[in-house]
Symmetry: C2
């Protein structure tokens, strides 16, 4: 959002009057909104308190009356991502797909804003306001009939994969910037193909696959590997055959 009137006021009409009688009060919401505008336009490295203040047409110090500092601003931005995210109720017959949806939704959230994966990585491991999401993820995992100890690590594993994959994905895009993914992919593929085959036989052979046709496909395959691994634990438990899994809901 650009300022409507950025025309420099001539020196002769300098009554000490404020321009807008309808001064919209500054709120946390508006600050976070402005931060997202700056983030999407300039990127994380250029996202400074001063830029956010400028976006709002306000002095830097005004922000500190509403927000504790830059760290809290990041916290608020991160929380904003989960505003309209709801997980479905656990369905024991469909738990694997539900888990995948959880990861897919997380990735899409991070891709919605530029550099959001980096912000997500810097985020604290757990914050109170998104505990409900983790809880519901566990509910789905429980419906899958997984042993407790596996459930406990599965959440981390899935989140870590989703965040890490998306971070890498967006770093590629940022680095070779503003090129479409097709071009980026071709560039990377060409690089791998050009390596000396005697020293890097596997990388040359896999060049086409290392950067798949689409990131979506690569992401799905990784998800599949994890889900298959989890499933082995579900089937392994003698008391809980796959047919009886629907009774596991509690």
């Amino acid at each position: 959002m650009s300022q409507p009137d950025d025309v420099p006021t001539p020196p002769w009409e300098r009554p000490r009057k404020r321009q807008a009688p309808a001064r919209i009060p500054l709120t946390r919401e508006r600050i976070v909104d402005a931060a997202f505008v700056v983030l999407d336009r300039e990127g994380l490295d250029k996202l400074s308190m001063r830029q956010v203040a400028a976006e709002l047409g306000v002095a830097v110090s005004a922000l500190y009356a509403h927000v504790e500092g830059k760290d809290e601003l990041f916290e608020l931005m991160y929380a904003r991502l989960f505003d309209h995210a709801e997980l479905p109720d656990p369905d024991p017959d469909n738990w694997q797909e539900q888990i995948k949806d959880y990861a897919r939704a997380g990735r899409q959230r991070l891709l919605r804003h530029r550099d959001m994966a980096r912000i997500s990585m810097a985020h604290a491991p757990f914050t109170a306001d998104l505990l409900p999401h983790v809880e519901k993820l566990f509910a789905v995992l429980r419906a899958g009939g997984l042993p407790d100890k596996v459930m406990a690590i599965a959440g981390d594993l899935l989140s870590t994969y989703m965040e890490g994959f998306t971070l890498e994905e967006s770093m590629w895009q940022e680095r070779l910037n503003d090129a479409s993914w097709k071009q980026v992919g071709a560039e990377i593929r060409d690089y791998f193909s050009s390596l000396p085959p005697e020293r890097f036989p596997n990388m040359v052979a896999l060049a086409d696959l290392l950067v798949g046709e689409s990131n979506d496909y690569r992401f799905e395959l990784g998800l599949d590997i994890i889900l298959r691994g989890l499933a082995t634990y579900a089937e392994e438990d003698p008391g809980k055959s796959s047919r009886d899994r629907r009774h596991e809901r509690e």
Copy 2:
């Protein structure tokens, strides 16, 4: 402090005036060394070019004659981690354990220096000097009989898990400062246990497991899940069966 060659310099050769603290020339190596000293003592947030220069007793601008900037310094620090790391030759009968060792070694590398996981995350996806490591990882995966498509994503998956897990692990430690892991773990466990059970039944039930007895154990379990998932692809068929094709998109 002895001279490299202790043969007395013949008098007809140019006599060295300066024998006292001979000015050790600044090199990339010494700069990286100093950077690690500052990093371990002060943490990543306090690691600035000026701090590194001060550690060396030198002006800031002197660094820029040897190092392109802070980004390249981070690059050099990251590369340093791989200096004495060698992967074993692929052993088809033991590929799963070899893969695990790869991940374990990576985690240990990152834990060796404070905040190193964060630096690793900011690192570019691929840099030329550690291509040999990736190549050898692929060699081991190939020895496991994995399909090409799975191999191509497995590298990412493993690295992502290893880096993400270690990052989270070290962020916990940094946040609850200077406490031993036993205390940190107890604190987290108590927090999860204290949640309202009607809203968070799973988290309360899993409180003990969410922060395992040791991080080592949790890391191993996650590795096991991934390896089991990979193994399902290896067992399917060495020669591209129909089940394999199920994941191909035409």
